[in-house]
């Protein structure tokens, strides 16, 4: 059976957590900063 190996789990965890962290960081900065565009 083709099972997820420990390396596979590490890769998927790293990939998912890094992009999720990047999204959360960016939107956190956007929401706490200047949400509206300067006129």
């Amino acid at each position: 059976m083709n099972e997820l190996t420990i390396e596979g789990i590490i890769f998927v965890s790293l990939a998912w957590s890094s992009v999720t962290a990047l999204v959360v960081f960016c939107f956190w900065k956007v929401m706490r900063g200047k949400r509206e565009l300067k006129k």
Binding site: M1, N2, E3, L4, T5, E7, G8, I9, I10, F11, V12, L14, A15, W16, S18, V19, T20, L22, V23, F25, C26, F27, K29, V30, G33, K34, R35, E36, L37, K38, K39
Partner: protein, 520 residues
């Protein structure tokens, strides 16, 4: 000339930009490429390309766009002209106008298939089909490219008309009331559908207890278990770079067009990064978790490899419908899958029409309504070539030269104009102006040296490996050859027409452009 519109809110801007980037490739192309190129190991060159290519290009395009917007330029000819005052620069910018204009012609037709299949999911039109051969003929007969379930092209044509009407309704409303408002609805819905489908995939587990090796987890293993030996193969590095390139919609002139509607002091560094990261989230977390894992669960690894080799469309339009008919609530899940693709498509296609609309408004003083009608009419007329000559590879020819090869050319041109002709110090100042984050100085050197060299190698590789065989029509059936040449003639004619329009525009307006004076 009408006053230039501006984005209404930052979230609306980011969602519209992300909508532009998120397309069918996130859900269909990425999982196939990852599975074919070393699984988890693919993510190493993918992230390297993301840092060295994608993020710099995203920032470059936002910077060029905002800079051009200062001088009321919403398309690349004027933007390049404002950065590099040389007689040739505006003609180099024609590539950007050309790419987006050509892509939208065939992309709206592909997009309309997703709308059609959403409808067929709800009505259960394909639910009587049990095998992939018949499902394939269902698709090709719908496209008018073969015989099967549909006896004529009318169903596809009607969904094409609806798709075009949706696109140009949004575009006709303008930036704030049209594109931004639509992105604020479509992107949250797209994310909701995507997350729902991802969770649904996890609930499938092992659909057939008699075949325990066919499971969702085997699908994840297929995509993510790393094959490190692949890393020594240069192909995987170029495939990863190509995927990163396509997924972010760089090299199309569309990000520039959207960014031109920013004000001169608006941040671009954080907004650009937020756009890129949202696209990556949709691709890596959602896109990789739906089509391939579910295909492995129902068909097994070996069959999924065959499906993946046949291409992204077979994965999305042939294998997925077979699965939907086998599961509870398959009609609803099928509808969500195809409507997710439709949203991904339409948020991209509205962006593709924008550069030409902006160009007509700004260079010929047309009203927004008039520009939208002209662009809509031209695309509507041109799309008939794609519809009727699909089976002869008309779409493939356009997709290769405009939607693949020219993207790298535009990216290479823009990085040269931005970093070398405009000057890297000016470019760095432009990028950092109004920034809400501090960009590491390392990117100064990446943008100046690494990104253009990286792009140059991709261009050389693609020229040798793909462009030359495509140009020589290797493997093309004899009866398709005249239509391939017709497609090439069409591409050349569009490019020449755009160059001529640029010439007329600059002959009339060129004396007005004083790039020492900002106008917003």
């Amino acid at each position: 000339m009408e006053n230039r519109e501006q984005w209404g809110s930052r979230i609306g801007l980011i969602l519209a930009m992300a909508g532009n980037a998120v397309g069918l490739g996130n859900f269909l192309r990425f999982p196939v490429k990852a599975a074919q190129n070393g699984g988890g190991a693919f993510m190493i060159p993918y992230f390297v390309a993301f840092v060295l290519l994608a993020i710099p290009l995203m920032w470059i395009e936002w910077s060029i766009g905002r800079h051009g917007g200062k001088y009321k330029h919403g398309s690349l000819p004027g933007m390049f002209d404002s950065m590099w005052q040389h007689s040739i620069s505006k003609y180099l910018g024609v590539f950007g106008l050309f790419v987006s204009t050509i892509i939208i012609i065939y992309y709206t037709y592909i997009e309309s298939w997703t709308l059609g299949f959403s409808f067929f999911s709800i009505t259960g039109e394909y639910f009587g089909i049990d095998d992939m051969t018949h499902m394939k003929s269902f698709l090709t007969s719908y496209q008018g490219a073969g015989e099967g379930h549909f006896t004529d092209i009318w169903p596809a044509y009607i969904f094409l008309l609806i798709t075009m009407a949706c696109n140009f309704y949004v575009l006709g409303k303008g930036i704030t009331k049209g594109i931004e408002k639509f992105a604020k609805i479509a992107m949250p819905l797209l994310l909701f559908f995507g997350i729902f489908l991802t969770i649904w995939v996890f609930t499938i587990g092992t659909p057939d207890a008699a075949n325990p090796e066919n499971s969702v987890m085997s699908g994840f293993a297929f995509i993510w278990n790393p094959n490190f030996s692949e890393l020594s193969n240069s192909k995987i590095w170029l495939e990863a770079a190509g995927q990163v390139f396509f997924t972010l919609s760089v090299g199309m002139g569309t990000l520039h067009a959207y960014a031109s509607y920013l004000r001169k002091d608006n941040d671009i560094a954080l907004s650009g990064l937020a756009t890129a990261s949202l696209n990556e989230f949709v691709e890596i977390v959602i896109g990789a978790s739906i089509a391939i894992p579910i295909a492995v669960a129902f068909f097994g690894v070996d069959m999924t490899k065959v499906i993946a080799e046949a291409g992204s469309y077979d994965l999305g339009f042939v294998s997925m419908p077979i699965i939907f008919k086998q599961i509870p609530m398959g009609k609803i899940v099928g509808f969500m899958w195809f409507f997710l693709l439709f949203f991904a498509g339409i948020t991209s296609s509205v962006a593709m029409a924008q550069p030409l609309i902006s160009f007509l408004k700004e260079q010929f003083n047309f009203s927004h309504k008039k520009s939208t009608i002209i662009v809509g009419s031209l695309i509507f007329i041109s799309v008939h070539l794609v519809v009727f000559f699909l089976k002869y590879g008309f779409l493939d020819e356009m997709d290769y030269w405009a939607g693949t090869f020219s993207l790298v050319i535009v990216a290479l041109l823009e990085v040269i104009v931005f970093a070398w002709m405009f000057g890297m110090d000016n470019a760095w100042a432009e990028l950092n102006h109004g920034s809400d984050i501090k960009i590491p100085r390392l990117f100064y050197y990446i943008i100046k040296y690494v990104t253009p060299i990286y792009l140059f190698f991709i261009l050389i590789f693609w020229t040798i490996q793909e462009a030359v065989p495509t140009l020589l029509l290797d493997g093309v059936a004899e009866e398709a050859v005249p239509f391939r040449w017709l497609a090439r003639g069409f591409l050349v004619a569009v490019f020449a027409a755009l160059c001529y329009m640029v010439k007329i525009a600059w002959d009339r307006n060129g004396h007005k452009y004083d790039y020492r004076k900002e106008t917003n």
